[in-house]
Amino acid sequence: MAILDILILSILVLCALAAVRTRDLLGAVIIYAAYSLLMAIIWLQLGAPDVAITEAALGAGVTTILMIATISKTGRYE
Amino acid sequence: MREILVLFLLFSGVFFFTVGTIGLLRLPDVFCRLHANTKSDTLGVGLVLSSLLLYEGLSSAGVKLIFMIIFILITNPTAGHIVARASYDTIVDWTGQLARQKGGDD
C-alpha cells in the first residue's frame, strides 16, 4: 500500500508544481481541480472517508467553480 | 473460475484505460483526444466496476456499483459532447478552415 501512497503523493506534488507554473489562469484552476481529485484518494488511504466525501463535493464542485467565476469577472491571463 | 473472470475483466479495463491515455498523448487535436477519452474511459470504468460487481455479488455495495455504472454511462459522453462543442465554437474563429469544410459538406 505504501507504493500507492508514494505514487499518489508524487503526482500531487507534480500537480501542485504544474498548477503554479502555468501562465494561463484557467489552466491553473483546472489543474487545481485535478489536485483535489487526487487528494480525495489520499483521504481514503488514510481512513478518513468523511473528509474524503467533503473534499470530493467541495473540490470537484464548488471551489473550482468559484475560481472560474472570478476568472470570468476578471482577466484570464496573468 | 470466478476469480479468473474477475481478473480478466479488471485488467482488460486497465488495458483500455491505458489505450485511452496513449491516445490522449499521441492524437493531434482536441476532437481526436475526445474520441479516446469518451470511449475508452466509459468502457474502462464499466469493466473495472463490473469486475468488482462480479467479485462482490449482489449486496448493498453491488447495488452502489450498478448505480455508478449507470451514471457513468449517462454523464461521461455528455461531458465529452459539451467540451467538443465549446472547442468547436472557439476553434472556428482562428482557422476558418473548419467552417469552410462544414459548408462544403452541407
Binding site: 505504501a2 501512497d5 508514494i6 503523493l9 508524487s10 500531487l12 506534488v13 501542485a16 508544481l17 498548477a19 503554479v20 489562469l25 491553473a28 484552476v29 487545481y32 489536485y35 483535489s36 487528494m39 489520499i42 483521504w43 488514510l46 481512513g47 478518513a48 472517508p49 468523511d50 473528509v51 467533503t54 473534499e55 467541495l58 464548488v62 471551489t63 468559484l66 475560481m67 467565476a69 472570478t70 476568472i71 469577472k73 476578471t74 482577466g75 496573468e78 | -
Partner: protein, 125 residues
C-alpha cells in the same frame, strides 16, 4: 544519517506535506497574481490537513465507523478527521471571501497584479 533515512522511509507522508507546504509558500510569496496567491494558500491549507490526518493514521486500522460486523481491529484516530472537517469548510469560506475581494479590486483598479496595484496606490497618494 541512517536514522534519518529510516525516518524518511517511514514518515513519507510528513515529508510530502512539508514539500507541498513549501510549494504553496513559495507560490504565495513569489507570484504577484492574486489568483495564484490564492491557489498557493489553498495548497498550503491542504498540506496542513494532510499532516494532521496522517497523524491519526494507525497501521492496519479501520475507518472510525463502528458496529459493522468485523469488530476488534484497531481504528483510525477520529479526532484529526473531525477537526479537519471543520477546517475544510472554513478554508472554503476564506477562499470565497478572498475571491469576492479580488472581484472588487479588479473593478476598482482594473488589474489583478499585486505589484501594479501597489504602484497605482502610490500614484494616487
Amino acid at each position: 544519517m541512517a536514522e534519518a533515512l529510516v525516518a524518511l522511509g517511514q514518515n513519507y507522508f510528513f515529508y510530502y506535506a512539508l514539500i507541498l507546504f513549501m510549494v504553496g509558500f513559495y507560490t504565495t510569496l513569489s507570484h504577484s497574481n492574486l489568483l495564484k496567491k490564492i491557489i498557493g494558500i489553498n495548497i498550503m491549507e491542504t498540506s496542513i490537513f494532510l499532516f494532521f490526518v496522517a497523524l491519526g493514521y494507525v497501521e492496519g486500522g479501520q475507518a472510525p465507523i463502528l458496529g459493522r460486523g468485523a469488530e476488534g481491529g484497531p481504528f483510525m484516530n477520529p479526532l484529526p478527521s473531525a477537526l479537519i472537517l471543520t477546517g475544510i469548510v472554513v478554508a472554503v469560506s476564506i477562499t470565497a471571501f478572498a475571491l469576492a475581494l479580488m472581484v472588487k479590486l479588479y473593478s476598482f483598479y482594473g488589474t489583478l497584479d499585486a505589484d501594479e496595484i501597489v504602484m497605482l496606490r502610490g500614484e494616487k497618494e
